[in-house]
């Protein structure tokens, strides 16, 4: 059976929704929201089908597709000098991220019910964003990757800038500038690679780089890797490059933050693993200690700052920084445990932050505030929401039995093997994570109620869908981590092969 149509359909299926939306009248709020939600379903179904395909024991390479696309011919006109192919493919790692994207996108479409105006434009941009995200994770060559990468930027910019809270424009611009600069650096790297090797196919590049007679000197490779680190470090974000992300997390509407924190940040991690580690393994090794230090700084810096924030969204924003530190720690370990931990953390944090931000959206919808102090004692009025909030916080602080623990554990397991002292310093982060999350969550849910929360409606109806699905996934990964680890084995082996370990 030829399955090469699957990925193209998967990636571009949200476009169908855009087309339908384009012909709908602006004012039919309910219908637009419903169509927007429906349009995310084909991608979800296909992603799950691909996962089922994998579970059935068949090869993921069935999905690979390659087509001639752009070619530059020389004067002689025979063989193209540079050719770019339209190449999509799936590995275990990509499969996981595609499933994550599809799930979070569908749930975020549900969360988009809180959007107050211009639903049509919102959902069209939203679906375009989904195309970009799915494309980023399935692209098999750098130019295609870059194009999809840029596709994610523009809709996000508008989604933040138009539908956000009070300082939305500022947040949107700072998002665009940081990420635009990041992608400019990325483009330079891609172009240098293209010019020097004549290909942008990732697997081919990996092979060329592994060849000692590669047309790139070691110094150039190191430089390219550092550039990649900066480009994806903006996205991740790594310590001094993080300030845009705080604004975005605070100002963007909940469903966009779910996407943003759940998936867009993960592009940074994905890029670092797939390109940084995949294409430049030897150079990555030289930088490992630096990356580990950056990771520990991220972890502690985020944790300490989250400890004194008064806005719960800020707490979550800094907590994202802190948790991305764990990704770096895992990567820097350069062994199976660490890398697997990093990938787990990518998926796990995607789910957890989507859950928490959805709950923030729910609370904000009802109380018009996300300040910890103003929300004190909300467990009285909304016990179920408070319960899920607590569960989300527990997952985030790495409670065993939930996904956060497995990733944190493996990342530290990895780093303790390589750099035990640094890892020991990093464990302070574990304590601080508990401290700041409990401070914030207990401050919101427990204690004396500052005002009457009686009138507020608890979670109801469709709101249960995202919350329950996300919580269930988090617990599933925590209890039975093999759902993630088994698709990853092949990817890990490839990476470890590159690392020569």
């Amino acid at each position: 059976m030829n399955l090469s149509w699957v990925l193209t359909t998967l990636v571009f299926s949200p476009l169908l929704g855009i087309v339908v939306l384009a012909f709908m009248p602006k004012t039919q709020e309910k219908a637009i929201k419903f169509v927007g939600f429906l349009a995310t379903l084909p991608a979800l179904a296909l992603a799950l089908a691909a996962y089922a395909h994998y579970l059935a024991g068949k090869k993921l390479s069935d999905f690979t597709i390659g087509h001639e696309w752009i070619q530059f011919r020389g004067m002689s006109g025979d063989a193209p000098i540079f050719s770019v192919y339209y190449e999509l493919g799936l590995s275990g790692f990509q499969l996981l991220l595609v499933v994550l994207t599809a799930v979070v996108a569908t749930l975020a479409a549900i969360a988009a019910r809180y959007v107050k105006k211009e639903w049509k434009g919102y959902f069209m941009l939203f679906l375009l964003l989904e195309v970009g995200m799915l494309g980023v994770f399935t692209a098999e060559n750098l130019i295609l990757f870059f194009i999809f990468f840029e596709i994610t930027l523009i809709p996000t910019f508008f989604l933040i800038g138009k539908w956000g809270y009070f300082e939305k424009e500022k947040a949107a611009y700072s998002f665009l500038i940081y990420n635009g600069l990041g992608s400019a650096v990325l483009l330079i790297v891609i172009m240098i690679l293209f010019a020097k090797t004549g290909t942008t196919n990732i697997d081919l590049l990996t092979k060329i780089m592994a060849d000692p007679s590669a047309p790139l000197s070691g110094d150039l490779k190191l430089g390219l890797l550092i550039s990649l680190l900066i480009a994806f470090g903006v996205k991740l974000p790594i310590f001094p490059l993080h300030s845009w992300m705080l604004k975005v997390h605070v100002q963007a509407p909940p469903s966009v933050v779910m996407i943003h924190s759940g998936i867009l940040l993960k592009i940074g991690a994905y890029g670092l693993i797939r390109f940084g580690m995949g294409i430049f393994p030897a150079q990555f090794e030289t930088l490992a200690t630096l990356i580990a230090i950056l990771g520990v700084i991220n972890l502690l810096y985020g944790a300490f700052l989250a400890f004194i924030q008064s806005d719960f969204k800020m707490v979550l924003a800094y907590s994202s920084i802190s948790h991305m530190g764990i990704v770096l720690i895992g990567l820097a370990a350069m062994n199976e445990a660490g890398i697997q931990g990093a990938i787990f953390q990518v998926v796990s944090h995607g789910l957890i932050s989507a859950l928490l931000f959805f709950l923030v959206g729910v609370l904000y919808e009802r109380t018009d505030t996300s300040l910890i102090e103003n929300l004190g004692g909300i467990a009285k009025g909304m016990p179920i929401a408070a319960g899920f909030l607590l569960a989300g916080a527990m997952a985030s602080l790495g409670l065993p039995g939930m996904s956060g623990f497995v990733s944190e554990f493996m990342a530290f397991l990895g780093l303790f093997k390589e750099l035990p002292w640094l890892a020991a310093v990093g464990t302070i982060g574990i304590i601080m994570t508990a401290a700041y999350l409990l401070r914030a969550v207990l401050g919101m849910t427990f204690g004396k109620a500052h005002r009457e929360f009686i009138g507020f409606v608890d979670l109801k109806g469709v709101e249960f869908v995202p919350v329950v699905v996300l919580t269930a996934l988090i617990v599933l990964i925590g209890v039975y981590p093999s759902v993630l680890s088994s698709p990853l084995q092949a990817t890990l082996e490839t990476i470890m092969l590159g690392l020569g370990g």
Binding site: P240, H242, S243, Y301, F304, L305, F307, I308, N335, E336, A337, Q340, G377, A379, K380, M394, L399, P400, G401, F405, V406, F409, M410, F412, L413, F416, K417, P420, A423, A424, T427, I428, I430, I431, M432, A434, A435, L438, R439, L442, T445, F446, G447, K448, A449, P481, S482, S485, S486, Q489, L492, M496
Partner: protein, 622 residues
């Protein structure tokens, strides 16, 4: 039966899930779900325990997580210690479930309470059948969460919120120690399995320094969970939770998990004298430290809490002095009498609606049932001969003496004196004399509450006879059977230790009687004499204040410092760059003033700069 031991933790988990989903509809009937399912656990545990008397250890495992070539496993193991712990935990849990039906009657969140109890029991039972460190750690944390949820059960109370938070964070500090220790030992032995670790340690595959380091790190985990100095402060605060919870978690089971952990990893600790000495020293110090605080507290539950801390110190002392059996034995008897004491205290609180012992008094006649049971518990913990506490405490003292720690032995003896004194102070103040506070409608608790107490009372009396110097040390022999590394089943000690222990505890009781019972000695005799000391004790040696001052303020200060960096440095650099670009733009737009000369000047200067550069570099930019 043992191959089905994995079912034991699943019953309470089932209870948790059922109550979470439909608890609201069941209302107070949800208690029956909890009680029945824990009863099932208890029955299974008893069966497993009896089977273990004759059968060898059962262990099974399966792959849980694969990391490259490393296969981390999960599974369960029924050895002597685990079987005993299963029995203790499921017994106390079952009794507390029953008791709570009466105690929590009328509470709005009754089903939630039972759901939490189920979660906790699940975690605790899971903890004690774990065959490897990783799984232990997982349940270890889950136990912490159960405890956290139950302490914060009255979530609308600020104190409960603070106490829950404190409990979680303080134990987490310890847990990180365990976390690091666990990972370090893993990379040394390539396994989390207890058996593998012990084998590697015995074979000398791990360096001595590494053993000491990991053992101490793991012990830090135990310190956090078992409320040992210096991480003890959360335990007294945890008394904000409902009293049955205090009985279950903070007396009988969870706090004993630290002791259990050290016991389970005993071969590792035995491989390092330094680690053992650390355990013993911390244990002995905590024993006397907490006991001295207990002397002056006025909250009935807090007195019991400090008493718990102190008794846990005893157990640590025993383990640290190589008295494996003594420690585990005391763990068992303590579970019985301390749970009894807490349940009885709960019954008292239930009757008089206050926790301040200064407002009680004369309850002996009014609480015909609770009073004698409380007395049994008090006698047991004070080490009066014939009751369970006497035997186990004696074992510990012998172990300390034989272990060659005369100073620690002395400390333990003094702590025993303190224990007897403050326990009887509590007893006399609550049950004898005249009623001091407003006491209307004082009534005995319903039988649902007194029956569990009765069961525990019986066990508190006879529980010690399984391991005595007189009738044979059945428990000890069984515990160490087939594993020489754990030491002897019974340590012979000089007879004077037993006499000394008896004399000391009787002295304590006599002194308490003089002051609080007969009142022939003025109550402020001591506090007046040592005013400063009294204040220090009343304020628990200012440990909390010290932490507040040093740790909390440091963390806050550091955080604000980082925020300063974040706002001014990081943002400042960003603003600086933005400002620079903007300035450049403004300058550029100023150039566009419409005057040809300016345009010409700019263009020419640019040209000149290029020309100079080319002239200097010879036409090539290198």
């Amino acid at each position: 039966m043992m191959e089905n031991a994995w079912l034991i933790p699943l019953f309470p988990l089932l209870s948790f899930l059922i109550l979470l989903l439909i608890g609201k509809r069941l209302r107070e009937a949800s208690a029956y779900v909890g009680i029945l399912l824990t009863l099932a656990s208890l029955v299974f545990s008893i069966l497993v325990l009896f089977e273990r008397f004759t059968e060898p250890t059962y262990i099974t495992k399966f792959d849980w997580l694969t990391i490259g070539d490393l296969h981390l496993t999960a599974g369960f193991e029924v050895n002597q210690l685990n079987a005993l712990m299963l029995f203790i935990v499921s017994l106390v849990s079952f009794l507390v479930h029953t008791y709570s039906k009466g105690y929590m009657h009328g509470d709005e969140r009754f089903p939630v309470f039972y759901a939490y109890l189920g979660l906790f029991t699940f975690a605790m039972l899971g903890l004690v059948i774990s065959p490897n460190l990783l799984q232990t750690y997982i349940f270890w944390e889950l136990v912490g969460v159960g405890s956290f949820l139950l302490i914060g059960f009255y979530f609308y109370k600020e104190e409960a919120k603070a106490a829950a938070k404190k409990a979680f964070i303080m134990t987490r500090i310890g847990d990180v120690g365990l976390f690091i220790g666990m990972i370090l030992i893993f990379w040394q032995t390539k396994s989390f399995e207890y058996s593998e670790i012990f084998r590697a340690v015995e074979a000398g595959a791990v360096s001595q320094t590494m053993i000491t380091l990991t053992a101490i790190l793991i012990f830090i985990g135990a310190v956090g969970k078992s409320g040992q100095f210096p991480l003890h402060t959360w335990l007294p605060d945890a008394m904000e939770g409902p009293t049955p919870v205090s009985a279950l978690i903070h007396a009988a089971t969870m706090v004993a998990a630290g002791v259990y952990l050290v016991a389970a990893l005993f071969p590792l600790f035995q491989a390092s004298q330094t680690a053992l000495l650390t355990v013993a020293t911390i244990g002995a110090f905590t024993a006397i430290f907490a006991a001295s605080i207990g002397l002056v507290q006025t909250d009935i539950k807090r007195v019991l809490a400090y008493s718990t801390v102190s008794q846990l110190g005893y157990m640590m002392l025993a383990l640290g002095s190589a008295g494996y059996v003594a420690g585990v034995f005391h763990l068992m008897t303590h579970a019985f009498f301390k749970a009894l004491l807490f349940l009885a205290a709960g019954s008292v609180i239930h009757a008089v609606h206050t926790q301040n012992i200064e407002e009680m008094g004369g309850l002996w006649k009014k609480l015909k049932f609770t009073g004698p049971l409380f007395l049994i518990g008090t006698l047991a913990i004070s080490g009066v001969p014939g009751l369970s506490g006497f035997f186990s405490k004696d074992e510990i003292l012998v172990a300390a003496w034989e272990g060659g720690h005369p100073v620690l032995f002395l400390l333990a003896l003094i702590a025993a004196f303190f224990t007897a004194f403050y326990m009887f102070r509590l007893f006399f103040l609550v049950f004898t004399g005249e009623a001091r506070g407003e006491q209307k409608h004082v009534h005995e608790s319903p039988s649902l509450m007194t029956l569990p107490m009765l069961v525990l009372g019986v066990l508190a009396i006879i529980g010690g006879y399984v391991n005595t110097p007189w009738f044979g040390s059945f428990l000890g022999d069984w515990l160490v059977d087939g594993n020489e590394a754990l030491g002897h089943g019974h340590i012979e000690g000089p007879a004077w230790i037993m006499i000394a222990a008896t004399v000391v505890s009787l002295l304590g009781i006599y002194l308490a009687w003089l002051i609080y019972g007969k009142r022939s000695v003025a109550r402020d005799w001591l506090s007046g004499a040592g005013g400063t000391l009294h204040t220090i004790l009343l304020n628990k040696y200012y440990v909390d204040e010290f932490y507040q001052l040093i740790v909390v303020n440091f963390v806050k200060g550091f955080s604000y410092f980082l925020r300063f960096i974040d706002v001014f440095l990081v943002e400042g650099i960003v603003k600086g760059v933005a400002g620079f670009v903007q300035g450049l733009g403004i300058t550029g737009s100023k150039m566009q003033n419409g005057q040809v000369q300016t345009y010409g000047a700019v263009a020419f200067i640019g040209l000149a700069v290029l020309a100079v550069i080319f002239a200097l570099t010879g036409g090539y930019l290198k």
